[in-house]
């Protein structure tokens, strides 16, 4: 009964909330408006935006040293999560079946597990960093902890359901993922989309000023 709800209507509900929520957030950012820059630019803003979009993936020397932990853990987490989210066999099958209708090559099981482990190491370290570092301790609010906690729980239940043989475990994983989808647009998890905006906005300004980021 509950299983059917989670697997059916609630999944579509959370997907709709996610899509509409994300769209709404992005529109609300654009609606805040931006005045055109009247200063004569040194070079093009769009090339700057594009450059900044990618160059920010690489940490800068000094901060790469001082903030090494954040960078290393951040990379581990994001790369691992990306790989397992989009290239784990069960996820590929699920997405193909429910959303796209087509599938793509998935990682072999061992690579999937290794990416999950990498993501776990990264997430745990980032979480601990948030709890222990004075700066992140001061900055973090409930949203940050709920977001981290939810992602962790989704990943953990996913790992507990690895046998893919016990329906309740899969449903628990799915249910938490649905909660995450619903929570996503209202939280700083939105950075998965908005980072494109923030990097582009800054990059455009830097490009116009002729500063290579």
């Amino acid at each position: 009964m509950i299983g059917e709800l989670i697997d059916g209507p609630f999944w579509y509900f959370s997907l709709v909330v996610f899509c509409i929520g994300v769209l709404f957030r992005l529109i609300s950012i654009l609606r805040a408006g931006l005045k055109p820059d009247l200063a004569v630019p040194r070079s093009g803003g769009s090339t700057g935006a594009l450059r900044n979009l990618f160059s920010r993936f690489i940490p800068r020397r000094d901060v790469a040293t001082r903030g090494r932990l954040t960078f290393v853990a951040g990379y581990l987490f994001h790369i691992g999560l990306f790989a397992l989210l989009f290239f784990a066999r069960p996820h590929v099958d699920f997405i193909a079946e429910r959303i796209t209708g087509f599938s793509w090559p998935a990682l072999p099981y061992w690579a999937f597990i290794i990416s999950a482990e990498i993501a776990f190491i990264g997430l745990l370290l980032l979480w601990l960093h948030r709890l222990l570092h004075p700066v992140t301790r001061l900055l973090s609010n409930a949203d940050d902890y709920i977001g981290t906690g939810l992602v962790f729980l989704v990943m953990l239940t996913g790992c507990l359901a690895l046998a893919q043989a016990f329906e309740p475990l899969r449903l628990l994983h799915l249910f938490l993922a649905e909660l995450l989808l619903i929570y996503f647009p209202f939280s700083s998890l939105m950075h998965a989309f908005t980072f494109v905006f923030s990097r582009s906005y800054s990059g455009a300004v830097m490009g116009r000023k002729g500063v290579n980021a």
Binding site: I113, V135, C159
Partner: protein
């Protein structure tokens, strides 16, 4: 045929071989006796009737060590007809490991409770001061809690697999328990290698401060100050902590090694390898859990001021003087003592209002 707790399959084989040898010798003597008598009688030689199956069954039971047959079926040890160690492993797990480790864990818990009731919380004698020493860096605290959380998860899932059938299954039923057990198994398998990473990080970070020094023996002889009166001066880590570290590292290495053998059955490991890995994994983790129980006790309710260093990074000056006198003296000589106020500034504690007010006063 009950063996001691630490019996291994190897001991058993030796036992088997000895018994077998004895039987063979006896059989030989029995066979030879009439033969000799017949020869002395000078009659026609009697027909020896060898049992055609003797050799076969000897091979089958693998009593002369493992001699493999051949099978058209591919697979691990598909040519081995009988694996005699399975029974040994079964007896170890069911009759020794499960009951005795249960008693040990419960006993340790009881011991800690008793100890707490008798000794109580070990207070900082001079009282908590308003001065602090910086003890663990952010990275050190991070990897500590990293390995701690992974260890707790692994211990919990491992114990569920070990004791679940006897303790949980009767309560929650087969279906729910098998969910839990499957989750535990998958979680245990996935987090195992994570623990290996964590252990490596901890080892690299803390090894230098854990090399045994002069004075560590005195600490040991005085029982770490718990038995006698007064504390024994020690450096950054005392003898007990150092020993725990090495235990953690060495035992942890065995745990990781045996765990990896168990979790990667892809290299065609023979069953005996898996059985031995399981035995060593079980015994070493049991030891580790017992030690960690003590570690958690002393770090939490057992001793005042012991947890601070690992949570905030700063420990109380008086606590350091009493428990790590050499280190505290060194820090004091180097002028590394800082005030509570400074610590709370560095940690961003307290509300901004207060801070803004104080710093406005300072600057204005």
């Amino acid at each position: 045929m009950r063996r001691a707790l630490f019996s291994s399959a190897g001991v058993e084989t030796a036992g088997f071989s000895a018994v077998l040898m004895l039987t063979l010798v006896l059989a030989f003597l029995l066979l030879m006796a009439p033969h000799a008598m017949a020869e002395t009688a000078g009659n026609a030689p009697a027909i020896q009737v060898p049992n055609p199956s003797t050799d076969l069954w000897r091979e089958v039971r693998q009593r002369d060590g493992v001699t493999s047959g051949r099978s058209q079926i591919a697979g691990v040890e598909s040519g081995t007809l009988i694996n005699p160690y399975g029974e040994t492993w079964r007896n170890f797990r069911m009759k020794q490991l499960i009951p005795y480790s249960g008693y040990l864990l419960a006993g340790m818990l009881l011991l800690l409770i008793l100890f707490f009731l008798v000794r109580g919380k070990i207070r900082v004698k001079a009282g908590i001061s308003n001065k602090k020493l910086f003890r663990y860096t952010l990275y050190e605290r991070m990897i500590h809690w990293f390995i701690a959380s992974v260890f707790l998860f692994l211990a919990l899932t491992g114990l569920i697999l070990l004791f679940g059938r006897s303790l949980l299954l009767p309560w929650i039923g087969s279906e729910v328990f098998s969910l839990l057990a499957s989750a535990s198994k998958e979680g245990h398998n996935l987090f195992g290698p994570v623990f290996a990473v964590a252990l490596l990080l901890v080892f690299i970070r803390f090894v230098r401060r854990n090399i045994y020094q002069k004075g560590d023996l005195t600490w040991l002889l005085k029982g770490g100050g718990i038995i006698g009166k007064g504390h024994v001066p020690s450096n950054f880590f005392n003898m007990g902590e150092k020993s725990m570290f090495w235990l953690l590292v060495l035992v942890g290495a065995v745990i990781v090694g045996s765990g990896l053998i168990l979790v990667f059955p892809v290299f065609g490991q023979a069953r005996i390898t898996m059985e031995l890995s399981h035995v060593s994994h079980a015994l070493t983790t049991l030891l580790m859990i017992l030690v960690i129980m003590g570690h958690i006790y002393i770090g939490s309710v057992g001793m005042e001021g012991a947890l601070d260093g690992m949570t905030t990074g700063y420990c109380d000056l008086n606590w350091a003087r009493e428990h790590h006198a050499e280190w505290a003296t060194l820090c004091e000589q180097e002028g590394k003592v800082i005030t509570d106020v400074e610590v709370s500034r560095l940690r961003g504690d307290g509300d901004t209002q207060q801070h803004a007010a104080t710093s406005a006063q300072e600057t204005g």
